[in-house]
């Protein structure tokens, strides 16, 4: 039981979906943070004040939501 999830195909699908869905919330947050991180780093290198930070922050948020919709559409 430790590393197995049953042998029927249904149980396997359920395990897969459980695995994917458990990541969703975290991925939303992480995408946002990564976006912000990239933006802030580029800003510090290119001295473009807050513009790039905002742009990449929005892109990060967008990436998170795109992922969310993709997973939702599959289910």
């Amino acid at each position: 039981m430790n590393s197995g999830k049953g042998t029927e195909p249904d149980k396997k699908k359920e395990a897969l979906r459980l695995g994917i869905i458990s990541s969703l919330g975290l991925m939303l947050v992480l995408s946002t943070l990564i976006g912000y991180g990239i933006g802030a780093w580029l800003d510090s290198k290119l001295h473009t004040a807050p513009i790039l930070t905002v742009v990449f922050l929005l892109l990060g948020i967008g990436a998170g939501f795109i992922n969310l919709f993709r997973v939702m559409n599959k289910s």
Partner: protein, 232 residues
């Protein structure tokens, strides 16, 4: 690392360029590697056609993961099996190390888990290019050419966020486990730490290793399959 006065079985070497806490994590990573290599050598030495004992146990685990990888990622994905099984064995051994007094789990540090996430990220991108050639980039560019630069960045961010979520999940679970053990062990009821450690060793340790490996398999499958996000 979580408690300066804790008894530890490995001395704190101060590795060049690392803080003491980071050195400790690296040392226990080496210990995990040594344990895995030792176990594998023992399992393989004097191997028999009809496996018994340790050889049998390892074969069952290896066969389980290989079968799963083939199912999830197909024949083009199953070549990445060495990575997947290494991930699993390293993480499960590391998790159990956290339960041994005097040891720490290297996976309870974000450094270890993030390193694995980076490895998985590089491996998935490599798998994508290897399986689909340059067309793999097409999935990064979105439906309309106008959106291409934005879509590329967004795709890149989400490709990064996926392995990173694996690492955060693993490290958070392990760290929480260690903290709870250290709190419970400060002399409250004796039963509580025993109950918690049973839960940790039976459920959390193998399950977290399994989830990390499973999602690695899914990400590789997605990269290799050509539909971009077949499974996610």
């Amino acid at each position: 690392m979580h408690n300066e006065h804790a008894f530890r079985i490995l001395p704190t070497l101060h590795l060049p360029g690392l803080t003491a806490a980071e050195s400790v994590v690296v040392e226990y990573t080496w210990l995990a590697m040594a344990i895995i290599m030792l176990v594998m050598i023992l399992a393989v030495a004097g191997r028999k056609k009809i496996p018994l004992g340790l050889q049998n146990l390892i074969e069952v685990i290896v066969a389980f993961f290989e079968k799963n990888l083939l199912e999830i990622a197909g024949p083009r994905g199953v070549v990445y099996f060495p990575l997947v099984i290494t991930v699993f064995f390293f993480i499960i051994v590391s998790n159990y190390m956290g339960l041994i007094p005097g040891c720490m789990a290297p996976t309870s540090s974000i450094n270890t888990t993030a390193a694995w996430a980076i490895v998985v990220f590089i491996a998935t991108q490599y798998a994508g290019f290897r399986a689909q050639g340059l067309k793999y980039i097409k999935h990064f560019l979105g439906p309309f050419p106008i959106l291409a630069p934005f879509m590329f960045v967004m795709e890149l961010i989400s490709q990064l966020a996926r392995p990173l979520s694996l690492s955060v999940r693993l490290f958070a679970n392990l760290l929480a486990g260690e903290l709870i053990i250290s709190v419970l062990a400060t002399g409250t009821a004796l039963l509580l730490p025993v109950i918690w450690m049973t839960w940790e060793s039976v459920i959390t340790a193998p399950f977290q290793a399994f989830i990390f490996s499973l999602l690695t398999m899914i990400y590789i499958a997605g990269a290799v399959s050509g539909a971009g996000d077949e499974h996610e």
